[in-house]
Symmetry: C2
Subunit: 401 residues, 2 copies
């Protein structure tokens, strides 16, 4: 079950793996720690699930701690997440207290003597204030920071300043008012995970059949969290426009993370709206089974990503890795991945008509679909696989240990 | 927010606290680690949430790691849990493989160099085989082990034998076929947790009102997981018998743990059955808010615990701590807590008529209710508070470090 670095040779080539070993050999004996807020659900957990065992496999000891929250805490941190992505939400003093208290309590039994500590996202950000920092700490933020709510930003900055380095996912998230060094590291996907590996066609068919997904009409799919930032209402609007020209289906392969209490409300709202369409034409499938998500990508004709805000958007990376034509919003890290017209299509998030036209174009032009898909897979192989991320973490360790 | 040992002086008295410090002083510099499978939901998480910060507060460094599972893993470990409690379930080879693989993966990034490791319950039991054991390891099993499914027991024994000591909750769970030392430690509750501390009467009223619980009829309450072992159908049967004599309500204050996928099915089944009663006479309230559970105990007239199997049954301890008369099944750890007729009533789990009669007796005799409640609180104070548990862990460390 545990993958080894050798398993990646056939995908990325021997020079890449050899370079990784060269970097790792300078770091033997160092001890790294990753801290985040969930071990299941969401892109960060996926990255860490693939990266951390690989770090240990190449003998760079890397631990992983997950903050122990509770439902009220996750409600507050969801608000913080949204406000960092520019939503005009005020975090109350009581909420701030809960946020800090949970971190304090976790720190009381979490003894950190590692050489380098990487704290992911805002949930465990304040942890640092409970340690006598003899080691180096990085804050790795996976969120779109281009326009954070100002009051919240001032509050969080106090904790960010204690770190040695801050890591963001895109040049546009670098903050002018943070005096610590800032690095840009793009996330990556694991080509060998259950979600991304090549599946046997029979398995694909049986998974799709068991999930009740008919395949007798073209299939437009969005794979994402059930979240306001993924614009589920806009997605339905786009689908309606496509549907007027081509008889097709929309599949929302959704995800509810354990730290996202907001998702359920949005889900109920969007399901009511979807009822205006013919039954079986708008489908909701829970994407908690990675194998099923993999199969869903495989049988889809177009992948849409109708997000308004994104950190990096690994769902786009996954779809591109599957050689699928992707029509996506020009926001967050998506333009880092899609070059419009070359390996997918980019649109203004509010250009519903444009989205619909591109999808129709792809559905009507098979050779365009194939060309976009092939280019998509090529660019992911070059830039967005976990081995590249691993290599960059080794550089970071080298610099800061 | 973090409680200190000093906060317990007024509850258990100075000699108890002084003894704890005396024991702790011999252990400074030792490093203990607790490993379990959830940080929220269920009795084990509650015990650790109270015990671990206190251990650190008295300067015995104690870490806490939570195994990183996934939904399929939790389904398997729920089966293992049930089969250990005698259910005739076969664990398939694939399920065993998943169980072992999740442990192997967790071990790959969990570096353990502590002096003493306490592994709780079967989920992380096989972890031990991935370490070169230079330290002492204890397996702390919170489950009723009196009659485990034989094939599963043979499978798990291979891992248990690697431990230095096994800890169970009751004399009757000691296993003759395990050649390692076995200790008995009763669990305990934290008198200062949100669930157990004294609440202001105004807060109680507003919590109960907000939860939609009417208080104009006598209230019989069961607080427990939604689980077959809590016999929800038997509970309804007993209530029906009481209801024929006294107009009263039944409140099921239930809990769904993150590692319990089975709960939802049982919940739906029992809700359908409850519909045969008058609306508002059988109430279901989600007990995820500890403050609300606290208020629920406070306004209940009788607490029932209709379990078929129990490890120790902390819900009984909590109710007794609230000076409530408890009518409970004579199973698992319950007879360790309740002396029939003195500080509550004990009944055969299948004696539905007996349950009903005892409840009627209490509802009709206020001075009996008060006497049972007072004796209940006294016995919990003497035997089942977290300070006693802390003290026993210090003894264990002293012996094994």
């Amino acid at each position: 079950m545990i993958k080894t670095i050798d398993d990646y040779i056939n995908i990325v080539g021997e020079p890449v793996i050899s370079e990784i070993f060269k970097k790792a050999s300078k770091l033997y004996g160092k001890h790294l720690l990753m801290v985040n807020s969930t071990f299941i659900g969401g892109g960060v957990a996926e990255i860490l699930n693939s990266l951390i065992p690989l770090m240990n496999n190449i003998s760079v000891d890397t631990g992983w701690r997950v903050l122990h929250g509770n439902p009220s805490f996750y409600e507050v941190t969801k608000k913080i997440h949204n406000a960092l992505q520019s939503a005009d939400i005020d975090i109350t003093e009581d909420e701030k207290k809960l946020y800090l208290d949970v971190n304090e309590s976790f720190a009381s039994y979490t003894h950190i003597d590692h050489d380098f500590v990487v704290v992911h996202d805002p949930q465990p950000l304040p942890l640092i204030r409970h340690y006598q920092k003899k080691n180096s700490w990085a804050w790795r933020c996976h969120i779109d920071l281009s326009n954070p709510q100002p009051k919240l930003w001032e509050f969080l900055k106090k904790y960010i300043l204690r770190y040695d380095v801050m890591i963001v996912s895109s040049e546009s998230y670098v903050k002018k008012d943070i005096p610590i060094p800032q690095k840009i590291i793009h996330p990556a996907i694991d080509p060998l995970s259950l979600k991304n590996q090549s599946l046997n066609p029979d398995l694909i068919s049986s998974l799709i059949r068991d999930a009740g997904i008919p395949t007798d009409k073209p299939l437009i799919t969005q794979v994402s969290r059930m979240d306001q930032w993924k614009d589920p209402e806009g997605l339905l609007d786009v689908y309606q426009r496509v549907k007027e020209k081509i008889d097709c289906r929309l599949l929302y392969c959704y995800n509810l993370a354990t730290d996202d209490p907001e998702g359920m409300d949005i889900f109920n709202k969007i399901k009511r709206k979807a009822k205006t369409f013919e039954k079986q034409d708008v489908l909701f499938v829970m994407g908690s089974n990675d194998c099923l998500v993999n199969a869903v990508y495989s049988v889809s004709d177009v992948i849409i990503q109708k997000s308004i805000k994104e950190g990096f958007c690994l769902c786009v990376t996954e779809a591109m890795w599957k050689s699928k034509p992707v029509v996506a919003s020009n926001c967050g890290g998506i333009p880092l991945q899609i070059k419009d017209g070359k390996n997918g299509f980019l649109l203004d998030p509010l250009d519903y008509q444009g989205f619909a036209e591109r999808i129709i174009e792809i559905l009507q032009n098979k050779s365009l679909a194939i060309k976009l898909g092939e280019n998509a897979k090529k660019s992911v192989t070059e830039k967005f696989l976990t081995t590249r991320l691993l290599s960059q973490y080794l550089d970071l360790l080298q610099e800061w240990c």
